[in-house]
């Protein structure tokens, strides 16, 4: 099987976000970059599927500025076989990214299963997975908690609201977007980190994958930090007095209960 896994490099969750001077982006100085946590689940799932099917390969794909190669090295250290980087500007939107990844995959001899995380934790738009599938003309199943591989496709356990889930079947080739709970991602061992440095990373330009700036459909502007909150009310007294006063305020002042 030819297995692909699409990943994004994002700021660590503990990052304090600062804006750049033009307020058209964030100040990336000093940011610690990580593989988006849901993408780690996608990598793990790709490696497990590869290892169950001898002769298979797992290739990691990422689109973005050159820094994203570092994230792909993490995936290679976890065990992916090779990597494809599509060099796009920092400001590329979901559509341009997805169309570029789809373009890179179309250049491959074939693809059977593509894994992604259910969303990236920076943009949080949850678009690229479905868009890659759309541009490849294949089915996608998102927010996947479990997989059962069948001869003609995959049966996925898909999380919906309120603790409910759906069992969805889709035929090969298909894209699966991973949700936490799908597996426990492995850590890269030191020898594998060393080995990863020698693995192949192919870099493609937008023109190589048939995309251009015209594929950018939205742009983020006028970035703002959340307004500082006014100091709230401290409710003191013994627990009984606190509970009584809180409910009075929620009922009479805030009018939310």
């Amino acid at each position: 099987m030819n297995i692909y896994v699409c990943i994004k490099q994002v700021p660590d969750t503990e990052t304090k976000i600062k804006l750049n001077a033009d307020q058209n982006g964030i100040d990336t100085t000093g940011i610690k970059w990580i593989v988006s946590p849901y993408d780690e689940l996608a990598i793990e799932e790709a490696l497990r599927l590869r290892d169950k099917n001898p002769g298979s390969t797992a290739t990691v794909v990422s689109a973005g500025p050159v820094r994203v190669v570092e994230a792909m090295r993490t995936a290679l250290a976890m065990g992916a076989d090779s990597a494809i980087h599509v060099d796009l500007p920092e400001s590329a939107d979901n559509n341009w990214v997805a169309k570029s990844i789809a373009g890179a995959l179309k250049k491959e001899s074939k693809f059977d299963v593509i894994f992604t995380g259910k969303e990236a934790i920076d943009d949080g738009a949850a678009q690229v997975s479905q868009l890659v599938a759309e541009y490849l003309g294949i089915p996608s199943v998102t927010v996947v908690l479990g997989t059962e591989y069948l001869p003609s496709g995959v049966r996925c356990k898909r999380e919906i609201e309120g603790g409910s889930f759906e069992m969805v079947e889709a035929s090969f080739p298909l894209l699966i977007a991973a949700q936490k709970g799908l597996n426990e991602p492995r850590y890269a061992s030191l020898p594998n980190i060393m080995k990863a440095k020698k693995k192949e990373v192919k870099t493609l330009k937008p023109s190589d994958v048939g995309t251009s700036e015209a594929d950018q459909k939205i742009r983020y502007k006028n970035f703002q930090l959340p307004p500082p909150k006014q100091a709230g009310k401290k409710i003191s007294g013994d627990p009984a007095a606190q509970a009584k006063e809180l409910v009075r305020l929620l009922h009479e002042e805030a009018k939310v209960v």
Partner: protein, 322 residues
């Protein structure tokens, strides 16, 4: 004024509250508001959409639409949008909307603004803002090129207007030919919880590691049930195994925007604050007066949650009984 199409969502014979938010926001701005309603045996829901301001409901019914798949929904919606040619298309950022709308936007050759929390109509255009970095910042989304403006909205972000049951809508039945499909839903397995989902609830009560174990969450559940609230949890509580990941509020869990968020024994790690910052009213209960959660709280209670919560439950009961 513009022609707006809202993609309705229903499950188990009920329309989602978030659909009413979108219909209400569109109608309140004086738009010609159309709604696409897809499913099996859902015709009876159409007039309820009128109560929130729908002018016309485009109804598609078929056994193949009983459960959502992007493939089946797209086969209905894409031709409907082409013939209706709305200037704005709105959907909710729910498990269905977030799965469907990117593919639909791509078919239309336009971009998508997802998970927006602010909406204003300007002529036949919309102005939207959305959180990024899970709410650590917000941005305005500029749509490039031409074509319909497509956006999904976070649940509870727009609010629900009062329904006017005297209003009615025109109903148009859309023909359905699904052909062969590459995806199908085999079954839906219901969660055992009678409580709402954290992303849908208008009140969320969350607990942190201070709850000490899974059993102690019962005091939050008992309180939640008095006011129809959902029970959420911090990452620390989820990592400790007290609650399932689906209840996790934060950057690596669910991002919520209820009218009331009660944080119990949650110190307020930056990634948790990101997930609940847009809540309208925030209450924090914590023994540590220096906990960062208090900087965001509208009402702060320094004290032992094990003492306060049961009393809070009794006080809430009194309010509810009146």
């Amino acid at each position: 004024m513009s022609k707006v199409l809202v993609i309705a969502e229903q499950r188990d014979g009920r329309l989602k509250r978030s659909t009413f938010e979108l219909v209400g926001a569109s109608a309140a701005a004086g738009n010609e508001t159309h709604v696409a309603l897809l499913g099996e045996g859902v015709a009876g829901l159409a007039q309820e959409l009128a109560h929130y301001g729908a002018k016309k409901v485009h109804l598609a019914e078929n056994a193949g639409l009983k459960f959502y798949t992007s493939e089946a929904y797209s086969k209905i919606l894409f031709p409907l949008i082409q013939s209706l040619s709305p200037s704005v298309i709105l959907a909710s950022h729910t498990p269905t909307g977030r799965d469907l709308m990117p593919r639909l936007a791509a078919k239309l050759g336009v971009g998508l603004a997802s998970d927006c929390t602010q909406l204003t109509f300007e002529g036949d255009q919309i102005k939207v803002r959305r959180p990024v970095y899970a709410g650590k910042a917000t941005v305005e989304v500029e749509f490039l090129g031409s074509g319909p403006r497509v956006a999904t909205f976070r649940q509870n972000a727009l609010g629900i207007p009062k329904p006017d049951t005297s209003k009615t809508a025109e109903i148009s039945t859309t023909s359905v030919d699904l052909g062969t499909l590459a995806t199908r839903v085999i079954e839906v397995v219901k969660g055992n919880s009678a409580r709402p989902d954290v992303t849908e609830a208008s009140i969320v009560i969350s607990g942190g590691r201070s709850l000490k174990n899974a059993e102690n969450f019962k005091i939050l559940e008992d309180t939640a049930d008095v006011i129809g609230a959902a029970v959420g949890a911090s990452r620390a509580a989820v990592d400790a195994g007290f609650r399932p990941h689906r209840d996790q509020v934060g950057q690596t869990g669910k991002v919520v925007s209820p009218s009331l968020y009660i944080a119990c024994g949650i110190s307020g790690a930056i990634q948790h604050l990101a997930g609940m910052r847009t809540s309208k009213v925030i209450v924090a209960i914590n023994t540590d007066p220096e906990a960062p959660i208090f900087q965001l709280a509208d009402y702060g209670l320094v004290g032992d949650l094990f003492a306060i919560i049961p009393l809070l439950r009794e006080e809430l009961k009194k309010i509810k009984e009146h």
